[in-house]
């Protein structure tokens, strides 16, 4: 092939490349490449930090018989991070899409308020002994069931009715959340200081709260729910265009929204029961994943959100435990950064 022929062929190929006409998830090959590189990098950091959390600075040598138990204990924490990241990332992204609003999080619907109400109520009415023994599969299932039932009643009543209105539902969710918070705040005031202290450690989210007993239920349930949401991704793409366009395209808006919100409720209840409330974490993760995944397509946003969530949790815990040697609850730090980013987004975008 002569040089000119070669150039001619290259030219044709180039033009064909420019003329590639397809409505793929990414605007260009460059965007797609950037997405995959970022995804692999972020996941890599997350896995590295997770490995670090499991093996780094192990006080006992590898050949010691107590090596395995130590690793097992640390695995529980990493497992909790995995579940929390999966729940928060999928729940927040799906929730923001069906509500067509990128500054609200499912925490607004009052799950965390209900969680703290259940725990404060247990302490207030039945005493410290009851709170300490309020663990185990039964208590966990009860909490998840209560939270899902609450959201089903709320959505079923407010969304499916004649005046089905998402914003009204959110408003009622916020009011119920605030109400429950005030009631539990009042009960907390009447507790003895020692009881209060015990309760407080429950109410601040932490993976060290996680109880490995829950895993046989929590992990399969989370994975199944997440798979349901992922299978629903193509419909979520349409739902994010808003009620009217979605209806025009033949998607049953009301039914799809209730389906999505119930899945979100299951995820939020699992994570809240497992590691406690993490109000801004989901928001932080969703916000960052929209930046890292330049597409509207949920099939790509979801994995990115999970990778980011998992990396944030594992890296934060690794840094705080092993580098800075601070064992303060990491959630406080995450909430701080999440809150700051929340404010920045609102101030920068001005209009929502």
């Amino acid at each position: 092939m002569s040089m000119t022929e070669f150039q001619a062929v290259t030219q044709t190929n180039l033009r064909a490349g420019l003329r590639h006409r397809s409505a793929r998830a990414f605007r260009s090959g460059k965007d797609a490449a950037r997405y995959w590189i970022l995804l692999v990098l972020i996941m890599g950091v997350g896995l590295l930090a997770a490995a670090g959390l499991i093996f780094y600075n192990n006080p006992v040598p590898v050949d010691s018989p107590s090596f395995i138990p130590v690793v097992q204990r640390r695995l529980v924490a990493v497992g909790a991070m995995f579940v929390a990241a999966l729940c928060h990332s999928f729940a927040t992204v799906a929730f923001q899409s069906v509500t067509s609003n990128r500054i609200i999080t499912p925490s607004l619907l009052g799950y965390e308020a209900l969680y703290s109400f259940i725990h404060t109520g247990t302490m207030y009415f039945f005493g410290a002994g009851a709170l300490v023994s309020f663990t185990g599969i039964g208590a966990f299932s009860l909490q998840v069931a209560l939270m899902v039932i609450m959201s089903l009643i709320l959505y079923g009543w407010l969304l499916a009715g004649k005046y089905g209105n998402l914003h009204l539902t959110l408003l009622v969710g916020i009011i119920i959340g605030t109400g429950l918070n005030s009631v539990s705040g009042f009960m907390r005031r009447l507790l003895a200081p020692s009881e209060f202290d015990l309760l407080q450690s429950r109410l601040i989210g932490s993976v060290t709260n996680a109880n490995a007993e829950y895993f046989p239920i929590a992990i399969p349930l989370t994975v199944a729910t997440v798979l349901c949401l992922y299978a629903f991704a193509r419909r979520l793409n349409v739902l994010s265009l808003g009620r009217d366009v979605a209806t025009t395209l033949g998607v049953k808006f009301q039914a799809s929204i209730i389906y999505t919100l119930v899945l979100v409720a299951v995820l939020m209840s699992i994570t809240t029961s497992l590691v406690g409330p993490l109000t801004f974490f989901g928001f932080l993760v969703a916000m960052l994943s929209y930046q890292a995944a330049p597409t509207y397509d949920h099939r790509y946003i979801f994995p990115m959100a999970f990778a980011i969530g998992f990396s944030i949790l594992t890296t934060a815990y690794f840094l705080l435990y092993h580098v800075l040697s601070i064992s303060t609850a990491v959630s406080v730090i995450i909430e701080l950064f999440g809150g700051l980013i929340f404010l920045t987004v609102i101030l920068r975008k001005r209009s929502l």
Binding site: S22, A23, R235, D244, T247, T248, G250, Y290
Partner: protein, 250 residues
């Protein structure tokens, strides 16, 4: 044919639309005109099943819009409202591609891509097809949305004020596009129009509404009468014969 029987919608208080009785024939462009609050958009939304009527029945191609599955209706009729919430990071081509959702459920085939290209070219959006929606002007975005609903390839297309946000040149272009789509693809358009002259020039039929009822329905010549329009809009309107048909002066 779109046939509306005794359709009623009651808003809070005294405001009520209907009862409406009208048969809009197949093919061609029908424009709904009338003063604000006459019920033009309400009628359009009820036909497009975006708004539930309180009484009555509407059928499109013999399918009851209240009872037919939304999924099946999406292959017969499409509707576009004035304001649309738009997603960031969504390109024009991806938006138009959503028009294929009723058929491919999000898994675009080669044929889908060809149809998408056809409508993008038809609306002269070819150079913009890889732009994000938030990088477009209001008028370009409007064209992209209209391209999306046409890409749905339904027989019936309902548009609520398609000329909203468009300057004169773009308005003329949009109406030419719709006229061509009606003539070449044999589609049935129902448009809510504010500009009587645009409606008169490009429509086959005009439906004039007032106080929640159909005041008059007929061909352009039948509706473009000074007494009729003066009565409907409660403003003095004269009609002169222009080079392309009747023109209203107000």
């Amino acid at each position: 044919m779109i046939s509306i029987r005794n359709a009623k919608k009651n808003y809070a208080g005294e405001v009520r639309i209907g009862p409406l009785n009208i048969d809009i024939p197949k093919a061609g462009i029908t424009s709904l005109i009338g003063p604000n609050g006459a019920g033009k958009s309400t009628t359009l939304l009820m036909i497009g099943r975006l708004l539930r009527m309180d009484e009555g029945q509407i059928t499109v191609a013999n399918m009851d819009v209240a009872k037919t599955k939304s999924e099946d209706l999406a292959k017969i009729l499409t509707i576009l409202r004035q304001e649309n919430h738009f997603v960031t990071r969504l390109t024009v081509r991806q938006l138009v591609g959503f028009g294929r959702f009723p058929y491919s459920k999000g898994r675009l085939t080669k044929e889908d891509e060809a149809i998408i290209s056809k409508y993008i070219d038809f609306f002269q959006l070819t150079d913009l097809e890889h732009r994000y929606l938030d990088e477009l002007s209001g008028g370009q975005r409007q064209r992209a949305y209209v391209a999306m609903v046409l890409c749905q390839e339904t027989e019936y297309v309902l548009l609520d004020e398609p000329l909203n946000n468009l300057d004169i040149a773009r308005s003329v272009q949009m109406m030419e596009h719709l006229r061509r789509a009606a003539d070449e693809f044999g589609k049935t358009f129902v448009l809510v129009m504010h500009d009587i002259n645009f409606a008169a020039k490009y429509s086959d039929r005009i439906c004039a509404m007032k106080n929640g009822r159909v005041a008059a329905f007929g061909t352009v010549e039948e509706i473009m009468k000074p007494e009729l329009l003066t009565d409907i809009f409660e403003t003095k309107i004269d009609i002169i014969q222009g080079p392309y048909g009747p023109i209203s002066i107000y």
